[in-house]
Structure formats: C-alpha cells, structure tokens
C-alpha cells in the first residue's frame, strides 16, 4: 500500500492534544464522540488508501487534458473515484446537516483533509475548492441560493471553484478587473478573464459552481469595489434541473511543475459562447448572481480565506506525511554501505546515522505541524460552539493567530520534508518513477497559492501581532511557559532537555514579538524584512510546544496508563521524537530570532540598482 493514514497519531493528537472529549461536550459537537470519530478515521483511511492513493502517480503521468471545445478530461480513474467520494458522503463531513452534510467539528474534518491530501493532492484540491465555495454560499448566499446550490455541492454532484486571480491581480486582489453588469431581472452579466483556476473545468461533476470576484460598473476603485458572484457552468432551472450552458469556458490549462492531475484553468467569461446569449440590455457575458451585498466581495473572501489557508496548511502536513512514509519504506529496503561501527556485510540504509537524522527531521516536523493544525481546528470549533462569549473570543484570536502559521509554516516545512524525502532515496529519488520527486514537485505549489508565505507573514505581522500589540502572541507564550513548568517538574531525562530547549526558543519568540509589536510604527520596513523568519519562528516554537505536550502525555501513559499503554511503543517513540524536535528544530529558534531582531540591515541595504 502506498499510503497508510497515520490513524494512531491522528487519534492521539485529536484526543490528547486537541481535547476531543472536551470539544464534544459543546453544543452542536455532541456527535463527535470518540468511537464515532475512530470509526470515521478508520473508514476514511481505507477509502483514501485503497481508492485515491493508487491514482496519485498515474494522475501525475497522465495529467488532465483540455480538448479543442474547452472540455477537460481528468486522468483515468479520477471520475469514478470522485463519484465514490461523493457517494461516501465525505464532502459533507463538516457541512451543515440541513444541506446533507454531517455537521461534524472542524477538528474531525481536518483529519479528512489530511488523509485525502496525503492520498492524492491533485484530486483533493477539487473537494477543497468546493469546501471554499460551499462556505461562501453558506456565509453570504440567500435562502434560495443555498437551496439551489448547496445540496448538490455537499453531495459532490457539483463542484465549486474560487475565481479570484487575474493576470494583473494575484497577491493583490484589489486590482481585479472582471466586470459584472446588473440586469433588470437582478442577475448580472460577467465578463473578463480569470487565471490559475483550480479545477476550473473538468469531467467529474455534472455542474461547476464558480464563485467569481468582479466589479460592477458603479463600484469604487480598490478593495472596496469588488463583489462576489455565483456563476454556474450550467444555469439551474427553477425545478433544480440543469439548463443552459453558461458563457464561461476554459481557454487553456497550465503546464505545471506539480499537481499535474489537477487542471489549472484559464477561464474566459463572456466570450459569446454557450447558450445564454446577451442580457436584456444587450450586455454580453456569463450569467451571474450576486452573493451578499455589492462591493463586499473581498471582505467575504477574507472570512473564508482562513478556512482555505488552513486547508492548504494541512496539505503541507499531508504531503510531508506521504513523503515520510515513502522514505521510511525505501530506507528499510535499500542495502548500501557498511555500518560506521562495522558490520559483516552492507546494511540497509536506515542503519546509517545520517539517514536516521533525515527521517527523524521529516517525522518530527510532520508530527509537530499536524499537532499545531489540529489544535487550531479545535480552537476554531470552540470559537464557534462555546457557550461563553469570552471563551469564544479567546479561541477565535488564538485560531486567527495560528492560521497564517499553519499555512506558512506547514507548507514551508513540507518543502524541506519532501526534499529530504528525495535525498533519502539517493539517485532513485531524482528518478521520477520512484515517486519521491512527485511529492517534492506537488509540495512546491503549497507555499504559493492561497497567499504566498510572504502574504501569510504580512498577515501575521500586521493583523495578528502588531494590531493587538502582541497580546495574542504573548498569551500563547504564556501557555508555552506553563508547559515548560510541567516539564521542569519531571525527572525524565528527555523531558528535561525538551524543557531546556523550549525555554530558550520561547524566549526567542518573545523577543521577536516585542520587536515586531514595538517597531511596527517606528521601523516598518525592518519589521517586514523579518516577517517570514518571524512566521517560521512562531511555527517552530508552537510546534515544539505541542511536541512537548505530546511528550508529557506519553510519559504519563507510560508511567501510569493501562498495561497496554505502558508497553505501547507509540508513546516511547513520541517522547524521542519530541526530544529530537527539541535538539534539532527548536534550536533553529535562536538563529531566526537573530535574523528578525537584527537582520533587517542586510536585507534592505542594497539599492535596487545593486541587484
């Protein structure tokens, strides 16, 4: 089997670190009992491992293909697998029961996001984008819009897309130019070109529901003049059946470094094709419907952005996990070189200390990022479901602080992990058919779309740190300190080392927060020069904190758990992985701190001409 979901670690993190059994006491989360969640993980793991994972490599080789009529064919097996995915109800994990979903907490949904993306990142993007579109319609759509689109989207009969990017508008969406002209019947006619639209055209669903950012003729310039529209591939008749083909067509799909099975489309709106003719006022364009209020499109996008960015962060964890599994299985098999301490014959490479170092780096980073992602998800659930408004607010702040870290740190670390994955394979790693290179190529998009790492770091610096004077960041550091106190109280040798390194690292983060919050006004360029290092530092420390918490739980299980727990090698391995993280990853904190606090000079000194 090419991918086996790490169900045991997932369950551990959900239960012991993210507090499933506290969460499922909250109103609206009662269904997420431990045994139900276990069953969901097991069954989803089977589906992802047996059905989706085997299509990962073949999808990469075949990739999606566009035809002259603008239609797109997905690789062999994708369509059937997507049908199974829909029939399995997996799109509905997190979505409301009213529209056919199961309304389960984000924490549970997050395990699903991880598994499906580990199994097949290209495939998983389709439901991931649908999630975004469903969120958007839920959040801002009218009763009628929800009734028209959501049941079919939640059942994955239809899929959704997010049409934001245009050639001149990527990181900066205020530059969006697509036009939306209101019609007497309250619909709009939309024209313009969108690029890089993930799963913007394909053959896996009966209908595609595009969510499109565009400007109305009267809109003010800039961020406050962009509206959000639903623009279905086929119009939907009042009885729910599919009607005319809308005037939105795929002009081309991109040739990419990775995620090749996922069609990335150029979509042209209002090219005079399809069956919808022109509007009553003679305006050409695709038929679209306003969601929410005019000119508030970007604002809505920002609310949804948290969910989408979070999901991309989990893609990072996912691809890292898959790369790790592959590297481990290769390292167990490949025989090369004698042991440094001497051996009669050549040994499997997993015996070599440096291969161990690489595998442990991969493992520790992945486990830490998983833990950070899952506790963020649990915080989001508490922010929605907790009866106490103050608790909700605290959790929301915590979640929002973590989102750019989950996105930025997990995806950046996935590049490191996937690269190490190639390295573990030696020459075979560089050979495509081995498969390790695919994870590396696939991972490469993750730090770019849904906002580059720089954009995440800007968010972390500006909105999440400077704006509240570092209050949220310091509250998190205080939590790290209380974990340090627990570690300090232990006599366990590994926990003591972890305590030491975590203490130094949290101090480094504290210094960085002081600097960011303190200098944001006085020396803004210097602060932003260290924005990505600050994001990475926060990621390193929060990951280390979670690994330390995991080690404490594991130690307690070994010392005072059931007989089976005491002997469970999982817990011993958890402590050693946390120990590794402390010595090898947390130690990065000092370097990052130095770059942030004192490194701006070198970043900014050269004039443009000197480059």
């Amino acid at each position: 089997m090419s991918y086996v979901a790490p169900v045991k670690d997932m369950k551990f993190v959900i239960k012991e670190l993210a507090g499933l059994n506290t969460l499922n006491q909250l109103p609206g989360c009662e269904d997420a009992t431990e045994d139900t969640v276990d069953a969901i993980l097991e069954e989803n793991a089977k589906f992802c491992g047996d059905v989706l994972a085997p299509l990962n490599w073949s999808g990469d080789v075949e990739h999606s293909v566009r035809h002259a009529d603008g239609s797109v064919t997905t690789p062999k097996g994708f369509k059937e697998a997507f049908k199974q995915f829909g029939e399995g109800g997996w799109q509905g994990l997190h979505h409301p029961v009213d529209f056919g979903g199961q309304g389960l907490p984000k924490l549970v949904a997050t395990t699903g996001i991880e598994m499906i993306n580990s199994a097949n990142l290209s495939f998983a993007l389709c439901p991931l984008l649908s999630d975004g579109a469903i969120e958007a319609i839920l959040l801002t759509g009218t009763e009628q819009q929800r009734a028209t689109y959501l049941p079919n989207m939640v059942s994955a009969k239809w899929t959704g897309t997010m049409n934001l990017t245009e050639p001149q508008a990527g990181s900066d969406l205020s530059l969006v130019r697509s036009r939306a002209v209101p019609q007497p019947d309250a619909s709009y006619r939309i024209s313009g070109q969108k690029i890089f639209i993930t799963w913007g055209e394909h053959d896996m669903a009966e209908n595609l529901v595009h969510l499109v950012l565009a400007r109305t003729p009267t809109a003010p310039a800039g961020v406050k003049g962009i509206s959000l529209f639903i623009c279905p591939k086929f119009l939907v008749n009042p009885d729910g059946s599919l009607g005319k083909r809308n005037d939105v067509f795929c002009a081309s799909i991109e040739h990419k470094l990775g995620i090749k099975a996922s069609p990335t489309a150029v979509l042209v709106f209002g090219d005079g094709k399809g069956e919808v003719g022109v509007g009553a006022d003679g305006t050409a364009g695709a038929v679209g419907y306003l969601v929410g209020e005019e000119n508030r499109g970007l604002e809505y996008m920002f609310i949804m952005m948290n969910a989408a960015r979070f999901a991309v962060g989990m893609q990072g964890v996912a691809v890292a996990e898959r790369a790790y599994q592959k590297a481990v299985s290769f390292a167990r098999d490949r025989v090369q070189g004698r042991a440094v301490e001497g051996s009669a014959a050549a040994v499997t490479i997993i015996h070599h200390p440096d291969v161990r170092r690489m595998l442990m780096t991969m493992r520790a980073l992945t486990e830490a990022a998983r833990a950070t992602g899952y506790i963020a998800a649990a915080a989001s659930d508490a922010a929605h479901h907790h009866p106490d408004a103050a608790v909700r607010a605290d959790n929301q702040a915590f979640y929002e602080y973590l989102v750019p870290i989950v996105k930025g740190f997990s995806t950046e670390m996935s590049l490191e992990v996937a690269s190490l994955g190639v390295q573990v394979h030696g020459g075979m790693g560089f050979i495509e058919e081995t498969g390790a290179a695919q994870y590396y190529r696939d991972a490469r998009i993750l730090t770019i779309y849904e906002g580059t790492t720089a954009i995440q770091a800007n968010d972390l610096v500006g909105r999440k740190t400077a704006r509240d004077g570092g209050k949220t960041a310091k509250a998190i550091i205080a939590q790290v300190r209380s974990t340090e106190a627990e570690l300090a109280a232990s006599n366990h040798a590994d926990l003591k080392v972890i305590c030491d390194q975590l203490g130094r690292a949290s101090k480094a983060l504290e210094d960085a927060v002081e600097f960011v919050a303190g200098s944001a006004k006085s020396d803004i360029r210097a602060v932003y020069a260290g924005s990505v290092p600050y994001l990475m530092l926060a990621g390193v420390v929060i990951g280390g904190w979670n690994m330390a918490r995991a080690a404490l739980v594991a130690q307690a299980k070994i010392a005072a758990g059931t007989e089976a727990e005491k002997r469970d090698p999982f817990y011993a391995a958890k402590i050693k992985t946390a120990r590794f993280y402390a010595d090898h990853i947390l130690t990065r904190a000092g370097g990052l701190r130095a770059s942030i606090v004192g490194g701006a000079e070198g970043v900014l000194a050269l004039s443009e001409e000197q480059f």
Binding site: S2, S329, F330, D333, R334, E433, T434, G435
Partner: protein
C-alpha cells in the same frame, strides 16, 4: 484406539490427499481405517485397500453420497464414530466442508490443518496465515482433525491389503442437492490473490516472447506478472506490474523470469514464500532474494521447466 480416515475420491479413483492423511493417522497410533463414502465407489475403495498402513476399508455406497454433500457424509461418519479415537480428513475443500460438521455433532473441537503430530492428543498447526505455529493439545474424547497435506508425506499407494467391508449407509438427509460442477476455467487467477505467479522482465525481450511463459502459468495455475521494465517497454499491460508502484504480491511461489531484481520490483514481491529466479546474469540482484536460482538462457530453461513439470 483406532483412526478413521475419510477418503478423498471421485468414486472412480482415490485422490492423493488421502495418502498424506493416512500418514498423519498412522502417527496418531493405532489401526487406521479408511471410509469411502460414495456412489458406485468400488474402484476408489479398492485403491484405498492398497494403501500401506491401512488395516480396513469401510465402504458406504449410496446414490446420495455421489457428490459428497456435507449433510449426508457427516451423518455417515457420525454413525460410525463410536469405534474411533481419531477421525481425520485431508484439509481439502471437501474435508474442510464435512469434518467440522462431524465434530460439532460429536461435541468435539476440531483441530484444523495440522502439519505435525506431537502426541496422540497434541498437534502443530499454522495460524495467522502461517506466520506462527501453534502446538495444541485436545481434551476431547475424540480427536477430529483435518490434515494439511504438505505437512505429511504420502503413504505408499500400494503394498497394503486391507479388508474391504461394506457398512450400512445412512439415509439421505434430503435438505441439500447437488446441481452441477464446473471444472476450473483456464482463465488465470488474479495477480493480487494468486498462489503462484510467473513474472517476466525486460529479459523477455518482447511482448511476443511473453507467450512462452503462458504454458508455464497454465500448468501451475499461476497468475502472470511483470516487472516495471517490461511494462514500460510495452511488452505487457500495466496491470501486470509487480513492484512498489504496481501490485504488491506474496504468493507461495513466485517465479521471476528474466527479471534483474531492481529494488522497486523486490519491494513488490519479497514477501513471497518461495522465490525462483531464472536469469542469465549470475550477478543479478534477484538472486539475492531467490530461494532457488538458476543461471542460464530463459528461452531454453522455461521450455525445459514446462516439460519437467509434465
């Protein structure tokens, strides 16, 4: 103390599995009797009487025993059970079908698929698909046993001269009926679950040449597989590929023909019970995992192998 062996036969002839079962029965101690329950099964009974070590052959001949329906045969065995301390059947589809029914009717816990007799009440049997061996001791008055034929050599088919006795046939239970039989189709088993796999590599040279493996596969009832190199070269379809990115297989016998043994391929088949490699390069890595390697030209060795298998 005596043992009753339930013969595996098709009325006209006795099946080899009976011989291995007789050996197991002899090891349990005491006389060995053989039951031939069938219809017009005189020939099978006569053959049973020849088996070395058998002292008596009991024949239950009736039309409703013709097709070894479990309900009827089990009732017959139970009617005769009083005289025996051990009742054994080969662990064939038939034996496995009938004997647990006998055991339950006698309120005994059957011991399945033994591979060794340690004592008249103590036996060794594989569990967990052969990944562990359990030594078990039975406290039942009668030991009801199925015998894995590969665990025991066959008794000599001739040399014995047992008395053949007819026993009263029990009636037809009348709750089951035989409809028909289809002899195995020549269609090959699926790669994934196959017990035997014949696999070809780049050394086959062409898709056309894979044809020489077909009679070998047919003879062994094997599935056919291939290395990635052979699939990439277009010799055979994708779904034949064994290896890390293809199918992972663990048959009891894997015959690798013209496969060098790239690590990716090994990952897909290294758990096979017995691996045979045929390759002209004595240094090919496949030999490092093969139980039996033979160095030479596959185009002469494969036909030889087919001929030798008879």
């Amino acid at each position: 103390m005596a043992s009753l062996v339930i013969a595996e036969h098709d009325n006209a002839s006795l099946k080899g599995a009976t011989l291995n079962t007789v050996t197991a029965a002899v090891k349990c101690g005491g006389d060995v009797h053989v039951l031939v329950a069938g219809s017009n099964c005189g020939a099978a009974a006569a053959a049973a009487a020849q088996i070395a070590g058998v002292s008596k052959v009991l024949v239950a001949d009736a039309p409703h025993f013709a097709d070894a329906l479990a309900e009827n045969v089990a009732a017959q065995v139970v009617s005769m059970a009083a005289a025996y301390s051990h009742i054994l059947a080969p662990a064939t589809a038939n034996g496995k079908n009938i004997l647990p029914r006998v055991a339950a009717l006698l309120d005994c816990q059957q011991i399945s698929e033994i591979i060794a007799v340690e004592a008249p009440d103590t036996f060794v049997r594989p569990i967990y698909a052969g990944n562990a061996l359990a030594t078990v001791q039975s406290s039942d008055a009668k030991k009801i046993i199925t015998v894995r034929t590969t665990g025991f050599d066959g008794a000599a088919a001739t040399g014995g001269s047992a008395a053949v006795e007819t026993v009263a046939a029990q009636g037809d239970a009348g709750i089951s009926a035989f409809i028909g039989r289809e002899v195995a189709k020549s269609e090959r088993p699926e790669l994934a679950g196959a017990k035997i796999i014949v696999s070809g590599g780049r050394g086959m040279g062409s898709g056309e040449n894979f044809k020489i493996l077909e009679p070998l596969a047919d003879k062994l009832g094997a599935a056919m597989g291939a290395s990635r190199a052979a699939v990439d070269a277009g010799f055979v379809p994708n779904d034949w590929q064994v290896g890390q990115t293809g199918k992972i297989v663990a048959p009891t016998l894997y015959i690798a023909v013209g496969i060098s043994g790239a690590i990716q391929h090994l990952a897909g088949m290294k758990d096979s019970k017995t691996i045979v490699a045929i390759n002209k390069d004595p240094e090919a890595p496949i030999f490092s995992v093969a139980d039996y390697g033979i160095v030479g030209d596959l185009f002469t060795l494969v036909p030889e192998l087919i001929a030798e298998l008879g």
